[in-house]
C-alpha cells in the first residue's frame, strides 16, 4: 500500500521529464496531441536540427561547458581543501572569527556581489572568458565545500598527524601525504556537486558569456529557445535532453556522495 503510494508520487513527479524525453523523438504536431509515453512515429531529426540550429553548433557549447566545469572542479578541490585543512587542523590568531566569516559567506547570495564583481572583471578584460567563473573557485569562495571538508577532516584521527609530526613532517607534507589521501570521499562529493552546479548555473554564465563562441550549454539553450529559429518544440526538447544527460550521468555515478553531502551540510 505504502509502496503503491510512493511509486505513484514518484511517477507523477518524474512524468514530465520522461514525457520530454519521449517527445524529443516526436514530430511537433504529436507533441501537442499526445500526453502519453508511447511513441507513434519516430523523428530523430529533432536532434540534428537542434544541434545545428545555432552557429556554432551545440558541440561547441558542450565543449565550453566541459572546460568551464573542469576548471571549477580543479579550483574547488585545490583551494577548498587547503582552506579546510587550516580551519580543521591549524591554530591561528582570530581563527574563530575567520571561521565565522567563512560560514557567513555560505549564505551570501551571488546577486549581492555580482555588480561590483562585474565591474572588476570587465575592467580586467575578462568578460567573454571563463576566468570570471573559474577564478572565484580557485579562490575558495564556494565556502559550502570548505565547510564540508572541515567537517570531514575533523572526523579523521589526530594521531595520524601527530605521528607524522614526530617523524618530522611539516604541515604541507601532512596535508599532502596524510590528510588529502584520506579525504577522498569529501573530494568526490565536492567534485560531483561542483560538476552539477556549474553545469546548471545560468545567472553567472548569462552575465559573463555574451559572445556566441563562448556560450555554455545553458546560455546557448536559452538563446536557442528565444531565437526565432526555434519554432519546433521537438528540437528544443532534444537539446534540453542533451543538456540534462551529463547531470543524469553525474547523478548515477555520484548518488552516494550527493546524498551524504546534503545530509551533512545541507546543499541544494
Amino acid at each position: 500500500m505504502k509502496h503503491l503510494g510512493l511509486i505513484l508520487i514518484g511517477f507523477v513527479m518524474l512524468y514530465p521529464v520522461l514525457w520530454m524525453i519521449v517527445s524529443s523523438l516526436r514530430p511537433d504536431d504529436e507533441i501537442f496531441r499526445s500526453p502519453g509515453l508511447i511513441l507513434d512515429s519516430l523523428r530523430t531529426e529533432n536532434y540534428a536540427e537542434g544541434w545545428n540550429a545555432l552557429t556554432p553548433s551545440f558541440g561547441t557549447y558542450l565543449l565550453n561547458s566541459t572546460i568551464l566545469v573542469l576548471g571549477c572542479i580543479v579550483g574547488n578541490l585545490v583551494s577548498c581543501s587547503m582552506a579546510a585543512y587550516a580551519f580543521a587542523r591549524l591554530h591561528f590568531s582570530g581563527k574563530r572569527w575567520w571561521f565565522g566569516i567563512m560560514l557567513g559567506t555560505i549564505m551570501l547570495p551571488i546577486h549581492v556581489i555580482i555588480v561590483p564583481q562585474y565591474v572588476l572583471f570587465s575592467q580586467l578584460g575578462w568578460v567573454n572568458t571563463f576566468l570570471p567563473l573559474i577564478v572565484p573557485k580557485v579562490l575558495a569562495t564556494d565556502a559550502f565545500f570548505v565547510f564540508l571538508m572541515v567537517q570531514f577532516i575533523r572526523g579523521l584521527p589526530r594521531e595520524l598527524d601527530e605521528a607524522a609530526r614526530i617523524d618530522g613532517c611539516g604541515h604541507p607534507r601532512i596535508f599532502l601525504r596524510i590528510i588529502l589521501p584520506l579525504m577522498k570521499p569529501a573530494l568526490a562529493t565536492t567534485t560531483i556537486f561542483t560538476f552539477i552546479w556549474t553545469w546548471n548555473d545560468f545567472f553567472g554564465q548569462l552575465i559573463y558569456l555574451t559572445d556566441p563562441d563562448m556560450y555554455t550549454v545553458p546560455v546557448a539553450l536559452r538563446s536557442f529557445v528565444d531565437s526565432t529559429v526555434a519554432t519546433s518544440w521537438g528540437s528544443q526538447f532534444a537539446m534540453s535532453v542533451v543538456s540534462l544527460v551529463p547531470i543524469f550521468l553525474a547523478f548515477l555515478v555520484g548518488q552516494r556522495y550527493l546524498v551524504k553531502g546534503i545530509a551533512t551540510t545541507g546543499g541544494k
Partner: protein, 307 residues
C-alpha cells in the same frame, strides 16, 4: 552537524588554543583570503559605495547621494517585484518543506527499496534549476501544453497557465515544490537520529501514531526543520533562472514573474544602471538578513535542542 549548529557553538565559546601555526595557516588560507578580499566581502563593500552613485560602466561613477535609495522607496515596479518574490518565498517554501517532511516520514524506518525511492525523489532537485527544465515548464504549462492535455482527458478546460498573469507565478511555485528532494534527504538524516526506544516507549503507553508525531518526531526534528527553513528561504529569494526563461527575460506577463533578482538583473545588465543595481543588491542583502534574523528569533519559541 550543520553550518547553523556551528554558528551556535561559536557563540557559546570554543576550545582554548595553546600553540599557534600562524605562518602555515596564512599560506593554506592565502587563496581563501584573496577570495574574501576580491570576490566576496570586497564587492559587498564596493556595492555599498556604488549604491550612492550613478554609473553605467563607461563614464566614471558620479556621486548622487541617496537618490538610488529614494528611488527604491518610490519604484512601483520594484514594489511589485517585492510582492511577487515574497509571495513566491512564503508560499513555495512551506509547501516544499511539507512535501519533503511528508515523504520523508513515509520513507523512514527501514522501508524496502529506500535507496531507490530516495534517489527518484531527489533527482528533480538536481534538475530543477536548469534551463532545460524551465523550457519543459514553458511547454507543460502552455496553452497547448501537457497539463491542459491531461486536464482535457478529464473534461476540464485548461488555459495558458504561463501566459495568464494570475497563474504564471503559481507554475513557478509548483516548480519549486517539485524540488523537495534535497530538504527531504536532510529530514531523513534527522529522522534516523531519533532513537527508536522513544517510539517503543510511547507505543507501550498507548500513544497513537498521530500523537507520537506531534510529541516525539516534530520536537526532535525541529532543529532540522529550522535548518531547512533558513536554507530554503535563502535559496528561494535567489531564484532567477526559471522566471527568466519562462518569461523570456521580461518577468512578464504584466510583471507577474518579476522576481527581485530578475529586476536587479534588468537594471544592472540590460540597462547598465550599475548604481541603482548596487543599491538594489544591498537592499536584497538586508531583506534576506532580516528574514534570517526573524527566523533565528522565532526559533527560540519553537525549536527544541536536546543538548
Amino acid at each position: 552537524m550543520s553550518a547553523l549548529d556551528e554558528l551556535r557553538q561559536l557563540r557559546h565559546g570554543g576550545v582554548q588554543v595553546r600553540k599557534r601555526d600562524n605562518r602555515a595557516a596564512f599560506w593554506f588560507l592565502a587563496p581563501w583570503f584573496a577570495g574574501l578580499l576580491f570576490i566576496t566581502v570586497g564587492p559587498v563593500l564596493a556595492s555599498f559605495g556604488l549604491g550612492f552613485t550613478k554609473y553605467n560602466l563607461i563614464q566614471p561613477p558620479k556621486f548622487i547621494g541617496l537618490a538610488n535609495f529614494e528611488r527604491i522607496l518610490s519604484d512601483d515596479r520594484l514594489h511589485n517585484a517585492l510582492r511577487v518574490t515574497f509571495t513566491y518565498v512564503l508560499v513555495s517554501v512551506p509547501l516544499q518543506l511539507a512535501c519533503a517532511l511528508g515523504v520523508a516520514l513515509l520513507l523512514d524506518r527501514g522501508l524496502r527499496g529506500l535507496a531507490f525511492y530516495r534517489s527518484a525523489f531527489y533527482l528533480p532537485s538536481l534538475l530543477g534549476s536548469s534551463v532545460a527544465i524551465a523550457v519543459l515548464w514553458t511547454q507543460v504549462f502552455g496553452s497547448d501544453g501537457l497539463v491542459n492535455r491531461v486536464l482535457g482527458f478529464f473534461g476540464i478546460a485548461g488555459k495558458g497557465w504561463i501566459s495568464d498573469p494570475d497563474t504564471a507565478l503559481s507554475t513557478l511555485i509548483v516548480l519549486n515544490v517539485w524540488t523537495f528532494g534535497s530538504p527531504m534527504i536532510i529530514f531523513l538524516a534527522g529522522l534516523r537520529q531519533i532513537p527508536a526506544v522513544y517510539y517503543e516507549a510511547a507505543a507501550i503507553d498507548g500513544a497513537s501514531r498521530w500523537s507520537q508525531f506531534w510529541r516525539i518526531t516534530l520536537p526532535l526534528l525541529s532543529p532540522i526543520l529550522f535548518f531547512n527553513l533558513v536554507l530554503q528561504i535563502i535559496h528561494a529569494f535567489q531564484s532567477f533562472t526559471q522566471a527568466f526563461v519562462v518569461s523570456g527575460g521580461t518577468g512578464g506577463p504584466s510583471d507577474s514573474t518579476m522576481f527581485y533578482t530578475l529586476y536587479l538583473y534588468q537594471q544592472g545588465f540590460s540597462r547598465f544602471d550599475m548604481g541603482y543595481a548596487s543599491a538594489l543588491a544591498w537592499f536584497l542583502l538586508l531583506i534576506i538578513a532580516a528574514f534570517t534574523a526573524i527566523n533565528f528569533w522565532a526559533a527560540r519559541y519553537w525549536v527544541f535542542y536536546d543538548d
